[in-house]
């Protein structure tokens, strides 16, 4: 679907050459939501712009749905861009156009007749849930609504690939989730492939199937999202994962917990890509007739699996402890004893 092989992008300025993308190779499969995460300056913005030819690689090739972007004429490229559309951090809507006119813009570029444009626009407005807002100007909309217009506009020519350039970074957490849900929804409906760049790990966690981690222009790690969370290899990835789970609170609180439950055994349950939907913890507790104090927990859902930690205190003997440890292990939950 998308193939980036040995791509390097160097920006030449008067005084120095800046290597924004350094020998990157990536593969995105059809129908996938692929994330690229990195801190600012990691080269992800440049990388995503290579996919629609807004930037041309200094070395290497970029192939999107069978066409080599890096070898196209301007005319071919403009044609191609109608099928590889893009949404932006700051929405980049035309303030001089209403919602409907903004969505219609790519159709005008593609030369779609007016009647058809109107039909398509009203379909898209329904799709992104902006009914009744057709004739508003962008200045009259909230950030989330603006991004919905951006998404509708990007979808108007029925693209195969949608590029998201920090599409949720300017939105508050709640609106971010709404927009992400919309993206997942349209990916399924329209059979899209999405490449998104972000600096927020929770965006990756929430909707991506696979992700690449970038640092200093290089891809330092790539793989299924759950693997990045379970087993981060590089320091950057570890930092992103840590920021997302933010485990620090537990360490601080543990001393106090031990004091509060002097007779109990405190155990940490770790969920690593636990796929089962059944209520494991409560099943185990019931089966062994245990009493449990839930102390603290941090369990997150990726788009398929859950992972995180749960700290519980229970009164338990060694034998039962071993039994439930085995029981949990069957369900991909590891049990560690924190204190007795």
């Amino acid at each position: 679907m998308i193939d980036i092989s040995n791509v390097t992008k160097i920006f030449k300025t008067k005084n120095q050459n800046i290597t924004a993308v350094d020998n990157v190779g990536l593969n995105v499969k059809k129908g996938e939501i692929f994330g690229v995460i990195g801190y600012s300056g990691a080269g992800k913005s440049t990388l995503i712009r290579l996919l629609n030819g807004l930037e041309q690689p200094t070395e290497g090739t970029v192939t999107v749905t069978g066409d080599e972007i890096s070898g196209m004429t301007m005319k071919e490229l403009r044609q191609k861009r109608q099928k590889v559309s893009m949404i932006f951090q700051h929405f980049n809507l035309l303030w001089s156009r209403t919602v409907a006119e903004n969505i219609s813009f790519p159709l005008e570029i593609a030369g779609v007749p007016k009647k058809e444009r109107q039909l398509r626009v009203s379909e898209l407005i329904r799709l992104v849930g902006l009914e009744g807002r057709e004739n508003n100007y962008p200045s009259e909309l909230s950030g989330g609504q603006k991004q919905r217009v951006g998404i509708a506009r990007a979808l108007s020519n029925e693209p195969q690939v949608l590029l998201c350039d920090e599409a949720t970074s300017a939105l508050d957490p709640e609106t971010t989730d709404e927009v992400l849900d919309l993206l997942v929804d349209i990916t399924k409906k329209m059979n899209l492939t999405i490449v998104l760049i972000t600096h927020e790990m929770h965006v990756i966690r929430k909707i991506c199937d696979r992700a690449a981690v970038m640092e200093n222009g290089k891809v330092v790690e790539v793989g299924p999202v759950i693997e990045l969370f379970q087993n981060p290899q590089s320091n950057v990835t570890k930092r992103f994962v840590k920021d997302d789970i933010s485990d620090d609170d537990h360490a601080v609180a543990m001393e106090e917990i031990k004091e509060a439950f002097p007779t109990s055994t405190i155990v940490k349950l770790t969920f690593v890509g636990t796929r089962t939907k059944s209520p494991i913890v409560s099943q185990v507790i019931r089966n062994y007739g245990l009493d449990v104090n839930i102390l603290s927990g941090n369990i997150k859902q990726t788009n398929q699996e859950s992972y995180g930690h749960l700290y519980i205190a229970l009164d338990i003997n060694q034998e039962t402890l071993e039994q439930i440890t085995a029981e949990f292990k069957k369900h991909d939950v590891t049990l560690e004893v924190e204190s007795k």
């Binding site: 861009r81 559309s85 932006f88 001089s96 156009r97 813009f105 570029i109």
Partner: protein
């Protein structure tokens, strides 16, 4: 003090004012201003867009284009208007057939105003959010579409205030041109008011020019506000 009072009285007596001459001069001033504004808008817009586009991209062609356009614009902006009129007289004669009257003033008015407006256009275009232009590019828009559907609409309030300022400047320029025979209110104020020592005529010409300027400003402000949906 008495001399001053007499002059003051004479000024407001309007004894020397021939109102049909004022009307004709007003018509000439408006004629020159409107035609020159329209053409300065067109030429300035084209030059401004060339300046903006050639400064934006960094390929081998755009640099010399920007250099040349920028040089021409700066050159004509630097020449004082009164000298410009005299300087381009042969050119004016060749294309208008005369150097006298309102039509004789038009080439100098346009050449004087267009580069000024071109810079205002360039400034207006630079104010457009780069992201919006990038978005249009990412949709596959060609340069022509970007000019028509992004650059002009998105900078329209700035273009309107720019042409308002240019147009008011042109009213002033028509008055200067009037002194050397272009007709209009400037001609009236100089030829009649000054040389025949009829200050009431000068006063009337001034008031009419002020009214024209105010009307242009009001129209400009209203339009600029009306198209601004930001």
């Amino acid at each position: 003090m008495n001399e001053f009072l007499t002059a003051f009285k004479e000024m407001f007596a309007f004894e020397n004012v021939k109102w049909d001459a004022v009307l004709e001069a007003t018509y000439e001033t408006i004629y020159m201003t409107v035609i020159a504004t329209a053409l300065a808008f067109l030429i300035g817009l084209i030059l401004g867009i060339i300046l903006f586009l050639s400064n934006k991209s960094h390929n081998g062609v755009s640099k010399p284009v920007y250099g040349a356009t920028s040089f021409i614009v700066n050159l004509f902006r630097a020449i004082p208007f009164i000298i410009l009129i005299i300087l381009i007289m042969p050119f004016t004669k060749a294309i208008m057939g005369t150097v006298m009257g309102s039509n004789g003033a038009l080439p100098a008015l346009i050449i004087g105003a267009a580069p000024f407006f071109a810079r205002l256009v360039e400034i207006g275009l630079k104010e457009i959010d780069k992201g919006v232009i990038e978005a249009a590019e990412s949709m596959g828009a060609n340069t022509w579409t970007i000019i028509w559907k992004v650059l002009i609409p998105e900078s329209l309030p700035a273009l309107i205030s720019g042409i308002t300022v240019t147009s008011i400047m042109l009213v002033g320029s028509t008055a200067i041109a009037g002194v050397i025979g272009a007709g209009g209110l400037g001609n009236l104020a100089y030829m009649v008011g000054f040389t025949r020592n009829q200050p009431d005529v000068t006063l009337v010409a001034t008031v009419v020019i002020l009214i024209i300027v105010f009307i242009i400003q009001i129209i400009g402000d209203t339009l600029s506000k009306a198209v601004d949906k930001r």
